[in-house]
């Protein structure tokens, strides 16, 4: 049943839970994730491998394959609940209104098909245009991404292009129909730092010019810092801290967020050892009871191992929420 509402948000995720059925039981990759995203805004989702951030992105897109599925929750896009949409309707939105960019550009494009085929098929999936028109659209999209001699690139095969170029192609594909929302899953992780910076600025420009909303998933806080309006920090499938980026980064409340910030190499602490968060993220199959971060937390108390804290807004900053029994500035 679709629920129409006239919310101001472009995207609203309510209590999303996604699980995978494995031989050892159900693996709960995403537990009770809620987010909101306005038009033209950028949301950063940060966390380490296995935190559930990518799965969240895929869940929004409806790309969770068996043995996984969205077990509960709602994904409201312009008021429409995507989890309840029949597949053809969802497909119509995917690639048109909501698009995705993946992490590894060498795997994203089909190696045996030419670039133009892979772009024009994305055009034809949503618009009835002629082959020439589709090609023109593809060519324009490439130029928009700052790719010179787009026609040459179109005739090439993916492995003939560099990694940065391939990612630009992927982004161009994502931008083809002027989507309302782009979900970018670690798009620059596999690239050189210099290319990373280039792509980041290009994406930023596009977002500002077109008013496209963006979800940027990354494990790298520094990347997200300059780009996002809001940030959600995820750990073990849950959001542990959420709020406007400046608030969260300047005044982090959750020990995990503090650990993440503290472990960033920064010019201020040259010569000092890099600080690391001790321990490892828990296996999804062996989740500790209570707060998932407690075993690694410097200020964990007895309650922390017994009960799961809820995500609650801070008294003085209601837009900034934390999931912790003992939030506060770093010790």
């Amino acid at each position: 049943m679709t629920v129409f509402s006239h919310e101001p948000y472009l995207l609203e995720v309510r209590d999303l839970c996604t699980g995978f059925d494995t031989r050892e039981g159900e693996l709960r990759a995403v537990e009770g994730v809620s987010l909101t995203l306005g038009r033209g805004k950028v949301l950063g989702i940060v966390g380490e491998s296995g935190s559930g951030k990518s799965v969240t992105g895929f869940s929004i897109m409806g790309l969770i394959d068996p043995p996984g599925r969205i077990t509960s929750g709602q994904v409201l896009f312009k008021g429409l609940d995507l989890t309840q949409l029949p597949p053809p309707a969802l497909r119509a939105l995917r690639g048109d209104r909501i698009t995705m960019i993946f992490q590894d550009p060498s795997g994203t494009l089909n190696p045996v098909l030419r670039v133009d085929v892979q772009m024009t098929e994305a055009v034809h999936a949503h618009r009835k245009v002629s082959k020439e028109q589709a090609r023109k659209l593809a060519s324009d999209a490439l130029s928009l991404m700052g790719i010179s001699s787009p026609d040459e690139r179109l005739r090439a095969y993916p492995h003939q292009l560099s990694g940065g170029m391939r990612q630009r192609v992927a982004i161009a594909i994502a931008m083809l129909h002027g989507p309302d929302l782009i979900i970018a899953d670690e798009p620059t992780t596999a690239l050189d730092v210099s290319i990373q910076a280039q792509i980041l600025s290009e994406v930023q420009k596009l977002v500002h010019e077109r008013g496209t909303s963006l979800i940027w998933i990354s494990h790298d806080l520094s990347v997200v810092a300059g780009l996002a309006d809001d940030i959600a920090v995820m750990y073990a499938g849950r959001i542990v801290e959420y709020g406007p980026v400046d608030d969260v980064l300047d005044r982090p409340q959750h020990p995990y967020t503090q650990g993440l910030i503290g472990s960033l190499p920064s010019a201020n602490r040259r010569g000092q050892r890099l600080r690391q968060i001790p321990g490892m993220a828990p296996s999804f199959l062996k989740m500790p009871s209570g707060c998932a971060f407690a075993p690694r937390c410097g200020r964990a108390q007895a309650t922390c191992s017994e009960q799961m804290p809820q995500l609650a807004p801070l008294c003085d900053q209601p837009s900034h929420s934390v999931r912790c029994f003992y939030p506060g500035a770093a010790a």
Binding site: R91, L109, L113
Partner: protein, 324 residues
């Protein structure tokens, strides 16, 4: 590209030359070549004459040259049994074998690929599991025994299909083909199916494995993220990437199918080259055996070459590497 191609052809020719050496060694080093090539029911005088005629009294290396020269010109000796040119005999019977082999391979593809696709896309479904179990049976079954059982059921008990022979043929381009007549098809069905049985299982398993390897790859997910219809994702992305390696395997299987036709031809009395060589082995008609070996080797090497070239054409990653 041409450079690589020339190199590859050179390689192929080297293999053929190596084969001629092996066959020659087999003839002249193991066993008495006089016995092998001349036959045993000639008297002493005729034998000596034949030895001189065949040049068997010359030094080994010279005999080898003569042999190769003869082979290149298409002269591989005369059959003892049929008193005809051995090479011509083989080439006459070859179309029948090829017809059988190609039909079998086609069956294998037409049945095996769709089943394998299904099993790969829905591996947990009970039908897929049944298919996988059946495929193990498929290549565990001894082909010759299945042939007998097929004959038992379809010829003896049900009387639907003929148990042996080739049936009516239609001559196209000077070569008789049986698949163009109904009677011919009747005769072709069981032997081709029998030959295909093993291949069907193989193709099915390979396709399934290929699909399972391709499906989880990122570009498939990306294709879906673009909003492409499931049909488009299947055909343009999954199938194409699965089929390219499959084509090469199939090509190589053609060679093996031609070889295994020996057994099928024997049971179904199919008048092909395989049956000929079996009879020749049993009747010690060595020139025919030699001719068969040479023909098969050349065929093999050619098939391998064509498959290699095809693979280069189909997979752009490989193709462009050779050009650059």
């Amino acid at each position: 590209m041409t450079g690589w191609l020339l190199g590859r052809i050179g390689q192929a020719m080297l293999v053929v030359v190596a084969m001629t050496l092996i066959v020659f060694m087999g003839l002249h080093v193991i066993g008495n070549p006089a016995d092998i090539l001349i036959g045993e029911d000639l008297n002493q005088q005729e034998r000596l004459a034949a030895i001189a005629r065949l040049g068997l009294d010359q030094p080994l290396w010279q005999q080898y040259i003569t042999f190769v020269e003869g082979a290149a010109r298409g002269n591989l000796g005369k059959s003892f049994v049929y008193q005809e040119d051995a090479l011509r005999l083989i080439l006459q019977k070859l179309p029948a074998t090829l017809e059988l082999a190609v039909s079998a391979l086609m069956m294998a593809v037409l049945v095996g690929v769709p089943l394998g696709l299904y099993a790969g896309m829905k591996p947990e479904h009970i039908f897929s599991k049944a298919l996988m179990a059946a495929s193990i049976a498929g290549f565990s079954l001894p082909a010759f025994w299945v042939a007998l059982m097929l004959i038992m059921v379809f010829s003896v008990q049900l009387g639907w299909l003929p148990a042996s022979g080739r049936g009516d043929t239609v001559t196209v381009w000077g070569i008789p083909w049986s698949w163009l007549t109904l009677d011919g098809l009747h005769h072709l069905l069981m032997p081709a199916f029998n030959l295909a049985l093993f291949k069907i299982s193989l193709v099915m398993r390979l396709t399934r494995a290929g699909v399972r390897e391709v499906l989880p790859q990122d570009f498939v997910k990306f294709a879906r993220a673009k909003g492409l219809s499931p049909q488009r994702v299947m055909w343009a992305h999954v199938m194409r990437n699965t089929l390219i390696p499959l084509v090469t395997v199939l090509g190589l299987e053609l060679g093996s199918t031609i070889a295994y036709a020996v057994v099928t031809e024997s049971i179904f009395a199919w008048p092909g080259a395989g049956r000929l060589i079996l009879d020749s082995i049993n009747s010690l008609d060595r020139p025919v055996v030699v001719a068969y070996l040479m023909v098969v080797v050349v065929l093999f090497v050619t098939i391998n070459l064509v498959v290699d070239v095809l693979y280069h054409l189909l997979d752009p990653r490989v193709r462009l590497e050779t050009t650059e």
